[in-house]
């Protein structure tokens, strides 16, 4: 797509665009083409010009600004003019229908002392000056200088009249006449500066030649790029006081993923995306500027066209410990059709989102969807096919076989033959087929957009499938002489995900697959996973039921099926009425209705941990989530002709979230008869008993009847808010916001109502100061904001539970009637620069956020007789920098090369947990007797990994037990958990290069995450079982070389491999030995496109692309992809527990426009 051109001469600080308010609608039409600041060049030029020459304008006493904005709105042209030139103009009466733009302009500029020119899509309005008629000499100065004359033309060779010519450093200027000629006194070596409304300033040095030919170009700078901010307010980028980054729809759809958030990975500074290792249909963990809330949500708010939507998962949610057992519950954002998205704005800081209130504490992802365009009928068809393969395999050994009959590990004798590649028998090639069609079109008054998309994907694990259909219909219409705008949008999504792989130890086919004795062929178990047709223990797997509960991988995928369906309807509606040119009223609302059904069937013969009586187990989980939002906003654009301008808005909103559902789970009466009535003594609709935090035992497998409903939620937030934008001469912008929320989750406390403000300042240096002309744009900005965040429901109101047997279970949580909302204070300072006619752009931001008053579930003293209590405490700080840098390296007619870099560093620090209660540590993930915990500890970082380290003496030598003869030397490990790592990356970098050459385009995205550590329990268990390559290497080497010491002080240098790995490996061994650097650098995306030379007519454009994702790792130190996460929740960060490997994706995309 082509970037629209809004231009303002840089060196002329008085130049002014039409007031943005009046241009809103024009810009809404154009916003889809306003793409990112760091990616200008893509080959695809699908959008037609769409500029209309005919407009209708009527009204009495219309200010010129109003007429111009009306023309912009209808035609797609943009106006540029100097603000002061309009200051003394008279309002006009117009009654023109379907008139030519030139006619309209002629009428309204008559007797106004103004002229206009139209070039490309720019209409420049200029004052008619006396000087233009007769070239005059500059004012006389003390020393007469040589006269320089010249001619100024545009790129088309047409003379430009009214260009200001200035001698740099001298108080002399001239204006070109209507033939483009000028004459000015200047000496050799002096520099002339040419400025002209709508054109890039140009400097020319005076040489020996005193007759100059000067060509000026239209300013290419998208300096007045409009960005979409909170509440869908479109604002000039100049006025923003905080960092925001935009990603175009193209960047999301060029390289498809089944969760569109994964397509943002590496493209936005400060955004960390960790895809869940859960196959197709999995969720993504999205963190902006670091995690900050201990018990609350850390993911951003998703907003579509100004209105928040739900990002809810189904009732499975996320695993909470290393045992896992249930699949990932997906997320809401992945339901959307990426083809419907015009652009995404990422508002990173709390300040960017102060107006959205508590839900936006972690930043906002603003999604702008496509809509019909006036006068432009287009049909767009996209089809893509991808093949996915696992990107790596764990390193297995093929030298030693099964230990002995009856054993299940591979510490046995040397094998004679090589090994069989058992993984190849299991993993398959995944596919992702997406077909999408969209139709758009409309008249000046009504536009329609319709789209349909189908996504069919299968995972790399057998039976894992995704099917999704998206329907979107959007209507935009104007009534009452364009004063009333109605915009309505309905999305229907239906999605089915089959057999999401379970994460963690339980019910995971990969445990059986990876630990299968080496040297043996797993093929006999592939189609014979059932032993016989009767009885309970009919799973054909000789290694069933060890501490890892491993099962036949094909049994798990065929006999433990699960299916998650989601039907979602999302309705958005908006009505806006412009009362007059300074006041408009807007009411909006949406309903986001999500119906989830989940069923998991475990056949008799499945491991007993979730199949207690051996007759099978069934889980049915139906959940309905309904989020309703409504707001009413009054926008004020205070009329003013002075240099001060005040815009603002006041509004009120209500958000209501309700989740209800039914959860049934239990063992079956008749084996394998999967129906709710066959669940033993099922009693639906009863709450789970959650009175105590994890006590460190093995997590509760299902009993024969465990029944609980999904936590029913009814939360409501009511708000009033206001925003004021003050500006002075387009140099300085001051933005003030304030919001007050009333949260139902804080009912029963005195803190139901809470207020938070923000203030920001932005100074456009390039307009305020006379900067060298190669500086196109320069801005500094700073902002301070607070955002409050409410607490989860029901914490303030402790109620007792009736359990499945009708018994009364006392809730021993302490009611916290003084609970306060969380508060994030954020400060941000940044600067944005563009140079060389905006070919080079640089942006830099420093920020610091402190999240206070967090609600912590704490374990009071056991004998307090409260199992859990909540306190407001904590101070988690995130400080860091972000930068983006973009450069059009080559930009000519046939070849372009744009390169852009984004980088971010975030330093997370837990300044305090709850020191007033002497609590300095908070457990995010409990160990459940395994060797992984995740903590928040004072002085540490969010998500520190805790585990068992080997015990060492003062010299760092490992302390061994045993004597090396009758008792083998065995390493000893600490009995308490210590910090062994942290998975937060220290530095993230994305580097993108886009090339176009004639009809070809090539995009490459490399990204790297540097620093941080991850833990591989997969490797630990593989080592324990002797199946990994390192264990064979050690055996061949005659043992593991160590720097150790025994109890008598004797040095230990070599340890038997089996003894060593049996002691350090496994889920309970020395996890400190399984910490790896999380640094990973990869070729994230590559896309080679070609625009077919089709005859114009039926097709407008046809483009084919060969694309790849996650193609290879330049560097990866861990035995798995450290970016993958087992949970997209707060816990389980940086640990791999038999996660499905990352995939490498390659495919073809066809994009055709009719």
């Amino acid at each position: 797509m082509k970037s629209p051109i809004y231009c303002a001469p840089v060196a002329d600080n008085r130049t002014q665009l039409s007031p943005y308010k009046g241009r809103l609608f024009a810009k809404m039409l154009l916003i889809m083409r306003l793409t990112t600041i760091f990616l200008l060049a893509t080959a695809l030029q699908i959008s037609a010009k769409g500029l209309s020459q005919k407009v209708s304008v009527s009204g009495k006493k219309l200010p010129l600004e109003k007429v111009f904005s009306s023309i912009e709105e209808q035609s797609g042209y943009s106006f540029v003019y100097k603000y002061n030139d309009l200051a003394d103009t008279k309002p006009v009466d117009l009654h023109m229908k379907n008139a030519d733009i030139r006619d309209v302009l002629d009428v309204c500029l008559k007797d106004q002392h103004l002229s206009y020119t139209i070039e490309k899509n720019i209409i420049a309005i200029r004052a008619i000056r006396e000087e233009m008629v007769t070239p005059t000499a500059a004012p006389v100065t003390e020393q007469p200088a040589a006269v320089v004359t010249g001619l100024v033309k545009n790129e088309q060779g047409e003379p430009l009249a009214g260009v200001t010519v200035l001698v740099k450093g001298a108080n002399r200027q001239a204006i070109t006449n209507d033939k483009g000629e000028f004459s000015i006194q200047a000496e050799e070596n002096q520099t002339l500066v040419f400025t002209y409304v709508g054109y890039a300033a140009k400097e020319v040095a005076v040489g020996k030649e005193h007759s100059l030919q000067v060509t000026m170009s239209i300013a290419q700078a998208d300096l007045n790029t409009v960005v979409i901010t909170a509440l869908g307010i479109r604002r000039s980028e100049k006025s923003l006081t905080y960092a925001t980054q935009q990603v175009s729809g193209d960047q999301l759809t060029n390289v498809k993923t089944d969760n569109l958030m994964n397509s943002l990975n590496g493209k936005v500074a400060g955004l960390t995306i960790s895809p869940s290792a859960s196959g197709v249909g999995g969720s993504a963990k999205v963190i902006l500027r670091g995690s900050r809330s201990a018990s609350g949500n850390n993911q951003p708010l998703y907003v579509i066209d100004g209105i928040p939507i739900s990002n809810s998962s189904n009732a499975n949610s996320q695993p909470s410990n290393t045992y896992g057992g249930t699949p990932d519950g997906g997320d809401g954002i992945s339901n959307l059709n990426p083809e419907d998205i015009a652009s995404i704005s990422v508002l990173e800081g709390a300040s960017a989102a102060a107006l959205y209130g508590s839900q936006a504490q972690n930043g906002v992802i603003l999604i702008t969807t496509k809509r019909g365009k006036a006068g432009l009928m287009a049909i767009n068809f996209t089809s893509s096919a991808f093949a996915d393969q696992i990107a790596y395999k764990p390193k297995f050994q093929n030298s030693y076989g099964l230990t002995a009959a009856g054993k299940n590990d591979s510490w046995g004798p040397a094998l004679s033959g090589g090994g069989h590649d058992n993984l190849k028998d299991f993993f398959q090639t995944g596919t992702n087929l997406t077909n999408a069609i969209s139709l758009s079109g409309g008249t000046q008054n009504a536009q329609t957009y319709f789209s349909y998309a189908n996504t069919t994907a299968r995972g790399v694990e057998p039976k894992n499938k995704l099917e999704r259909n998206n329907f979107t219909l959007r209507e935009t219409a104007k009534f009452l002489n364009n004063k009333l705008t109605v915009d309505a949008n309905v999305n229907y999504v239906t999605q089915t995900v089959n057999n999401s792989p379970a994460l963690g130890i339980y019910s995971n086919p990969l445990t059986g697959l990876y630990l299968f004795p080496r040297g043996q062929d797993i093929t006999p178990y592939k189609n014979n996973y059932v032993k016989d047709s009767t009885g309970f223990a009919r799973q054909n797997w000789p290694y069933k039921g060890d501490a890892l509960r491993q099962q036949n991988p094909w049994w798990v995928v065929n006999r433990d099926p699960n299916v998650a369906t989601r039907n979602r309807i999302l309705f958005n509606g908006s009505v806006k009425y412009e009362v007059n040119n300074w006041l408009s009223l807007q009411a909006r609302g949406n309903v986001d209705h999500i119906a989830d059904n989940y069923e998991s069937d475990l056949y008799a013969g499945t491991d007993g941990v979730s199949n207690a009586n051996g007759k099978g187990n069934m889980l049915i989980n139906n959940q309905t989530t309904e989020q309703k939002y409504g707001d009413f906003i009054v926008t004020l654009n205070i009329p003013s002709h002075s240099n001060f301008k005040v815009n603002g808005l006041v509004g009120t909103s209500i958000t209501d979230l309700k989740t209800t559902g039914l959860h049934l789970q239990g063992d079956l009466s008749t084996p394998d008869f999967f129906t709710a009535g066959n669940i033993i003594a099922s009693q639906p609709g009863l709450s789970s008993v959650t009175t105590s935090p994890a006590t460190g035992n093995v997590p509760g497998p299902s009993g024969s009847t465990v029944n609980n409903s999904p936590y029913p939620v009814h939360s409501q937030i009511q708000s009033v808010f206001a925003n004021a934008d003050l500006s002075y001469r387009d140099w300085i912008y001051l933005t003030l916001t304030g919001r007050n929320d009333w949260s139902s989750n804080l009912a029963f406390t005195p803190n139901e109502s809470f207020f938070y403000p923000s203030a920001g300042l932005s100074v456009i240096l390039s307009q305020m100061l006379h900067l060298p002309s190669w500086v196109s744009y320069g801005k500094v900005r700073g902002t301070y904001a607070q955002v409050g965040n409410t607490v989860p429901p029901y914490l303030t109101n402790v109620q007792n539970i009736q359990n499945a047997a009708g018994q009364l279970v006392f809730n021993t949580a302490a009611a916290f009637r003084t609970l306060k909302p969380e508060k994030t204070k954020s400060t941000e300072i940044g600067t944005d620069w563009r140079f060389f006619n905006s070919r080079l752009n640089v942006s830099f931001t420093w920020y610091k956020t402190n999240t206070l008053n967090q609600y912590f579930p704490i374990q009071p003293v056991t004998a307090s007789l409260f199992s859990i209590a909540y306190v407001n405490a904590g101070n988690i700080q995130n400080a860091g920098i972000e930068f983006t840098l973009g450069y059009d390296v080559i930009k000519d007619k046939t070849f372009t090369w744009n390169t852009s870099v984004n980088g971010a560093m975030n330093r997370n620090k837990v300044l305090d947990v709850d020191s007033k209660d002497s609590i300095n540590s908070f457990v995010l993930t409990s160990n459940y007797n395994n060797n992984y915990e995740s903590h928040l500890t004072k002085g540490g970082q969010y998500g520190d990994i805790y585990g068992y380290a080997l015990t060492r003496d003062a010299q760092g030598r490992i302390i061994f037990s045993g004597d090396g003869s009758t008792h083998a030397y065995t390493p000893t490990k600490n009995t308490v958990f210590t910090k062994i790592g942290n998975s937060n990356p220290k530095f993230q970098l994305g580097w993108r290069n886009d090339f176009t050459y004639k009809r070809f385009s090539l995009g490459l995205l490399v990204d790297g995450k540097f620093g941080g550590q991850v833990l591989s329990l997969t490797q630990a268990v593989m080592d324990q079982y002797g199946v990994s390559q390192v264990t064979a290497d050690a055996r061949k080497a005659g043992g593991v070389t160590v720097n150790g010491v025994d109890g008598t002080g004797k040095a230990v240098t070599t340890v038997d491999a089996q003894t060593w790995y049996s002691a350090i490996g496994g889920t309970t061994g020395a996890s400190g030995q399984y910490i790896y650097s999380a640094t990973v650098v990869r070729l994230r995306e590559a896309a080679l496109g070609y625009v077919l030379p089709v005859p114009q007519g039926f097709f407008k454009t046809v483009k084919v692309s060969l694309v790849g994702r996650n193609l290879f790792y330049f560097s990866r130190k861990a035995p798995f992809d450290p970016e993958l996460t087992m949970s997209s929740g707060n816990g389980l960060s940086g640990v791999d527990v038999f996660n499905q490997p990352a995939t490498r994706n390659m495919g073809l995309t066809l994009n055709a426009t009719f």
Partner: protein, 534 residues
């Protein structure tokens, strides 16, 4: 323009005020979980709170009891190599397991009892309060017997630091709480002798029959009294005689047994850890005694061995357990005899808090000690054995007259290096021998008591620590690093780290002043006095 602007502002202000004054009045109802009970509803079904309370005595059974006390009692051993066999079964105490053993009774018994107290039940329904107190004493006795000093008298008084009581103080408080319970029950029974309406079916142990609860109260007093016989003989005798002579009586027949029924989806805990988890097998000690005695209860308690290599080694149809401290591997040791999940430990089998058989053996010991009201020692002993047979539905035949059978040697099916195999440690026989010394008599009583009390390893481990009986194989591999003596065996569990984290000052003081030794498994409890039984 000016007027227009002002009127705009007025309209605006009016609209916003309407928004701002909107209804937060529903917020309290929104923030009330509709699937949970209101305070009024809770009180209306307060009797229904008793079942969970009774069942919570076995909360987190696997980690709180089965993997430690049941093993230390010689009853059961896990074939699963938790933590690479470096766990409680080899004397490396796992903090998470100790945490279950410590925390659960507070959270799931004492805390709800405090909630019951807060509703005014102690004054409005002293009879119901009596039962709550008895359940609490039964539960908290298990905690103090695992750890020693515990926070008890000051429990519930603070969020941040609760001092520990010496074990002696805890026991004294137990006795006075039993006093209260007995008084309340007698008062209620005096006016409503057959009324079971207050607790009714909410009471999963006695269905509201307070006469049975009174027997339980007396029997519990007798159990606790006997526990402290070495530490405080005077109190022990006084409390025991109070129990023995109370007109309310003791648990006498299996019909009096205190056992809770399963409800809802709750499974028998032994069934769960054995059948579902596959983490529980018989202990070598129990099977060597029962094999030696040809004990008819063995097929009820246990299933025969199944693993082919074990059958090859020991013979088909045999019963064999795993020796505590063996470096197990489930694929091998899983074939050892498991608790019988088809008979004694079926999925819905009731779980015992105290049996009449146990009380007969308590009486036998009391008689041996010459306490009043205890009756004849031989009669008590033999009635104890017979009551146990009756409880499990087996016929004793000539069992009580067997004067020769003794414990067998132990042979491990996989032990090539002879680390786990061991000779029998006991020569005690079954038949009562009036001529035997008191020490031998006591060993005989406690050995048979141990066979009867199965599967309650908590009680059996306490008896073992107090009396040294039955004689049990020492742990095969001791990984405690010298903290726990293999010969004297483990005496307690270490306090969980959570106490050090949340109640640091109090526990430091308790360890220094009350525990009488370092906080590890080698330190003896207050009632576990290292001296002769007589």
């Amino acid at each position: 323009m000016r007027t227009n602007f002002n009127s705009g502002v007025t309209i605006l202000a009016a609209l916003l005020l309407t928004g701002a004054s909107s209804c937060t009045k529903n917020f309290e109802s929104y923030n009330t979980d509709p699937t949970r009970l209101s305070p009024g509803q809770s009180i209306s079904i307060i009797a229904q709170a008793y079942g969970p309370l009774q069942q919570a005595i076995y909360a987190d059974y696997q980690t709180a009891q089965n993997l430690n006390a049941d093993g230390y009692a010689g009853y059961m051993t896990s074939p699963t190599n938790f933590s690479s066999s470096l766990n409680d079964q080899t004397y490396t105490l796992i903090d998470g397991w100790s945490r279950s053993a410590f925390v659960d009774q507070y959270n799931q018994v004492m805390a709800p009892v405090a909630k019951i107290a807060a509703t005014g039940i102690p004054t409005s329904h002293p009879d119901m309060w009596a039962v709550a107190l008895l359940v609490q004493v039964e539960a908290m006795d298990r905690v103090t017997d695992r750890f020693g000093p515990i926070p008890y008298s000051k429990a519930g008084t603070s969020f941040t630091g609760i001092p520990y009581d010496s074990q002696q103080a805890v026991y004294n408080l137990f006795f006075s709480q039993i006093d209260t319970a007995v008084t309340n029950l007698k008062a209620y029974l005096g006016s409503n002798p057959a009324d079971t309406v207050n607790l009714g079916t909410g009471d999963l142990v006695y269905q509201g029959h307070y006469d049975k609860w009174l027997k339980f109260a007396n029997s519990l007093r007798l159990r606790l009294a006997m526990r402290i016989v070495k530490a405080d003989p005077a109190t022990a005798q006084a409390q025991a005689e109070k129990a023995l002579n109370d007109p309310g009586g003791l648990l006498t027949t299996p019909a009096d047994d205190a056992k809770f029924a399963q409800s809802g989806g709750r499974n028998n805990d032994v069934w769960l850890v054995t059948f579902s988890y596959g983490d529980c097998r018989m202990g070598a000690a129990l099977t060597t005694y029962m094999n030696g005695y040809n004990d008819p209860r063995l097929p009820v308690y246990a299933s025969p061995i199944t693993g082919q290599r074990i059958i090859d080694s020991l013979g088909a149809g045999k019963y064999a357990g795993i020796r505590l401290g063996t470096f197990v591997n489930k694929s091998l040791y899983g074939g050892y005899s498991s608790p019988n999940t088809n008979s004694a430990f079926s999925q819905t089998a009731s779980q015992y808090l105290m049996t009449a058989a146990e009380v007969w053996f308590l009486k036998a010991e009391a008689a041996l000690r010459g306490w009043s009201g205890a009756g004849d020692v031989k009669t008590d002993y033999e009635t104890g054995v017979n009551t146990s047979f009756q409880q499990w539905g087996v016929s004793g035949g000539n069992y009580l007259n067997d004067a020769t059978s003794v414990e067998t040697d132990y042979k491990d099916a996989f032990d090539s290096t002879n680390v786990y195999n061991t000779k029998a440690v006991s020569t005690i026989t079954i038949k009562w021998d009036p001529a035997a010394t008191d020490e031998v008599k006591l060993e005989r009583i406690i050995t048979q008591k141990w066979l009867a009390v199965f599967p309650d390893g908590q009680e059996a481990w306490a008896d073992f620590r107090r009396t040294g009986y039955p004689k049990l194989f020492p742990v095969a591999v001791n990984t405690s690093g010298g903290l726990i003596d293999t010969k004297t065996q483990i005496r307690r569990l270490a306090y969980p780290q959570i106490e050090y984290q949340t109640n640091g000052t109090a526990i430091a003081s308790a360890v220094q002043n009350l525990l009488g030794g370092p906080d590890n498994g080698g330190t003896r409890l207050w009632w576990d006095v290292n001296k002769a039984n007589f």
